[in-house]
Structure formats: C-alpha cells, structure tokens
C-alpha cells in the first residue's frame, strides 16, 4: 500500500504523462516531498514560499476533503489515502 496522487493534466509533464503516482509520508508536506524525489519539479507547482504554503489557485484534497480545512500541508496522511490536486475553477 502507498498513498496515491491523482495528477492533473497540466502537471503530467513532471510524471512522464502518468495520471497516477504514489509516494509515502505521515503528512501531506512529507508526501509531497517524497513525490518530488521521484518527479522533480512537481512540488513548486503545488506549494510556494517559505514556510511552504499551497499556491492560491491550487486545491488539494485528501480522500475528497479540501486540506485547507484539515490542517493544510500538516494534514495527516496514511497508506491507502488518495490525494487529488486540481486547479480552482468557477461554478454558477
């Protein structure tokens, strides 16, 4: 088991076209670092600044819940979780 990342179309240049990559970590931040190790360049498209924060127009969900309401990059993750990254879009 591992943690799964669903890669949005625009970021697949960093994953060799793969829609799905996996990684490990106890927190979302550690998981993103782990994914960065195998797919260099992807991290800075999702987070920015020091200390790192999610980019404004990027939404990240762990098991469908927006992490901005569950502790942001410190959100806990575990094997079997699904992390989805999406650009913010309008509705209405």
């Amino acid at each position: 088991m591992a943690i799964e990342l669903r890669v949005p179309t625009i970021l697949r240049t960093f994953t060799g076209g793969e829609k799905l990559v996996t990684g490990a970590g106890d927190t979302l931040a550690a998981f993103i670092d782990d994914v960065e190790g195998s797919h260099p360049g992807i991290k800075e498209r999702i987070v920015e600044g020091e200390p790192a924060e999610l980019r404004r127009f990027v939404n990240v969900y762990v098991n469908d819940e927006d992490v901005r309401f569950t502790g942001g990059l410190q959100t806990g993750v575990k094997d079997g979780d699904v992390v989805v990254v999406l650009p913010a879009v309008a509705g209405g």
């Binding site: 949005p8 179309t9 625009i10 980019r55 309401f69 989805v84 650009p87 879009v89 509705g91 209405g92």
Partner: protein, 315 residues
C-alpha cells in the same frame, strides 16, 4: 399563498424532512427545496436581489442591457427578472452546458455568446469580462463578486432555515459562485455560531480543468474561507448515485448537483452517528432534474451515467 407578481414570490421555499435517508432519530436530514422558486432554481434569489440592488443604486436604468457569465441557472433567473422589468439580456455560456438550459434561455429571449468548453465557467468569466470591455454601456451584475448575491442568502435561505428548524446543527450547500455558502455562512456565524457550514464542490472531468497553468485558476471574489468549516470534492459517480437515492427513497426529483450536496450531507450524518452527536443537517436542493434529462444521468447504470457526464458541466 398570494403574491402581487411572480417576482414577489421568490424564496420562502419548503424545508422537508427525509425520514428514510436520515440515519437515526437523532441525526436527521432536511432538504431545502429551491426548485420551488419561479424559474425552478435557487438562483432566482441572487438574480432578483442583484437586479433590485443595482436599480436602487442607479447602476441599472430602464432599457439597459444586462451581461452575465453563467452555466445556466443564473442566466435563466436573470432573464425572467429582466423580462419583467424591461431589460435586454446577454449571457456568456460554456459550450458544454445542457441543451435544455440553452433552449430555456432562448425562450426567455436571452442572446447567447458561447465560450469554449475547455476551461468551463472560468472561460465564460474571461469571455464576459472581454465583452464587457467592448460594450462599456452594458451592465455586468457579476454573480461571482456581487455582494447582493450573498445577501440574498443571508436574508433569505439561511434565515428561513433557522426559522423553520431552530435546532439546525449543519448547513450543507454547493460551491459555485460561493454566494449561497458565503451569505448563509455569515448569517449562521452571527445568529447561531455553532452551526457547521459544509461546502460540496463538484469535481468535473479533466476537460473542464483544461490545460491551463495552475496560476490561472479562479476563486470567486466573494469567497471567504473563514465562513465555512469543511469543503468536499464530489465526483459525478457519487453525485449520480445520491441523486437517484433521493428519488428512490424520498421521491424528490432533483438536479445532479443536489446529488453532490446530499453526498456531503450523508457523509456528515455518518460522522455524527459515529461520534454519538445529535444533528439536524439542512442541505440545499438547488434545482429539479428536468434540465438534466438529456445528460443521461437518470437512465441506465451508474457507470453509463458517469461516462455520459464526462466533460459536461453537470452542476
């Protein structure tokens, strides 16, 4: 119930219990039936309020043309209100919205400008801003940034729910322009701050998110994340499954976005049961299912329905 005109009948919608879908006697679900508004959607509230406020402050004058980016419902609501108050109406509509919505808009006399399917409503907003520059005399009420949109729910939707259900513990609604959640969230923060505000956001197919740079996303100007407590992303599969459950168990024929909202509401209900909390969860039914029949959401297997919704703006 008697009203002086159709416009006066906006709001005051029923809040109905869901005895079969509620998990226990202590954790209950309540549906706010916004399809009972004059044009059949919750957007009548925002459209009417935006229009009246713009008339009041002089931005909108007799004979003006109204321009709005919309995936359908807001356009239909504005078209009705515009027709009754004497304005011409132009909508910017993404190509991948249902045919019913286009027909209904044309029926109300709306002129439609199409925006590219890829990019969804983000593109409609971009195109509308461009058209607005070319026609400085047209009035864009701009639902994504107009405080009157949220005010309609502060004074209407949320206030009605609290009056009908003083024991309410959760409010669940869809996140599009964010108007429903912002207005209702602010109302509950001020009038019953322990009410949890839960957002259900539709997750579309890849086409809708387009190939755009991640820095070109769009967050409505109205959005203030401090007014909500949790936000869930719901894909078409769960939305279709839930909208059918609502029909099968409670007899309510709702639009596909209701399925997404119900999915979040049921998730919340299950959590309350696990934690032994009492809960009265009110959720919004933004519209009925009529406008989505051609999407195929209500026929065949869930797999088939999911495939047919791929690439469509189903909420």
């Amino acid at each position: 119930m008697r009203f002086d005109s159709l416009l006066d009948s906006v709001g005051g919608t029923p809040l109905v219990g869901l005895p079969r879908l509620s998990p226990t006697d202590d954790v209950r679900l309540w549906a706010k039936l916004e399809d009972r508004n004059p044009t059949g959607s919750i957007k009548d509230r925002a459209a009417l309020r935006m229009l009246l406020d713009a008339e009041k402050d002089g931005r909108l004058r007799p004979g003006n043309t109204i321009l709005e980016p919309t995936s359908g419902n807001t356009g239909i609501s504005l078209a009705m209100a515009a027709k009754l108050r004497g304005y011409r109406m132009v909508c910017v509509l993404p190509e991948n919205t249902s045919e019913e919505r286009r027909q209904i808009l044309r029926m109300w006399g709306v002129e439609i400008i199409s925006s590219p399917a890829a990019g969804g409503s983000n593109e409609a907003v971009r195109v509308a801003k461009q058209v607005a520059e070319e026609h400085p005399d047209w009035v864009m009420l701009y639902q994504y940034g107009n405080p009157s949109n949220a005010a309609a729910h502060y004074d209407g939707t949320a206030r009605e729910i609290l009056a009908d259900l003083p024991s309410v513990t959760h409010f669940v609604a869809g996140l599009g322009t964010t108007g429903t959640l912002m207005g209702s969230g602010r109302f509950f923060r001020e009038h019953k701050p322990d009410v949890k505000i839960v957002a259900a956001e539709p997750r579309y197919g890849e086409l809708v998110y387009g190939l755009r740079n991640l820095d070109e996303g769009f967050v409505p100007e109205l959005y203030d994340e401090t007014l909500i407590d949790a936000r869930f992303s719901v894909g078409p599969r769960d939305a279709v499954r839930r909208v059918r459950e609502l029909l099968d168990n409670e007899g309510i024929f709702a639009g596909v976005s209701t399925g997404a909202i119900l999915h979040a509401a049921l998730g919340q209900a299950a959590k309350c049961v696990r934690e032994g909390e009492r809960a009265d969860i009110a959720f919004v039914v933004p519209d009925g299912g009529w406008k989505y029949l051609s999407t195929g959401a209500y026929e065949g297997t869930i797999d088939e329905a999911e495939d047919r919704l791929e690439g469509q703006l189903w909420a």
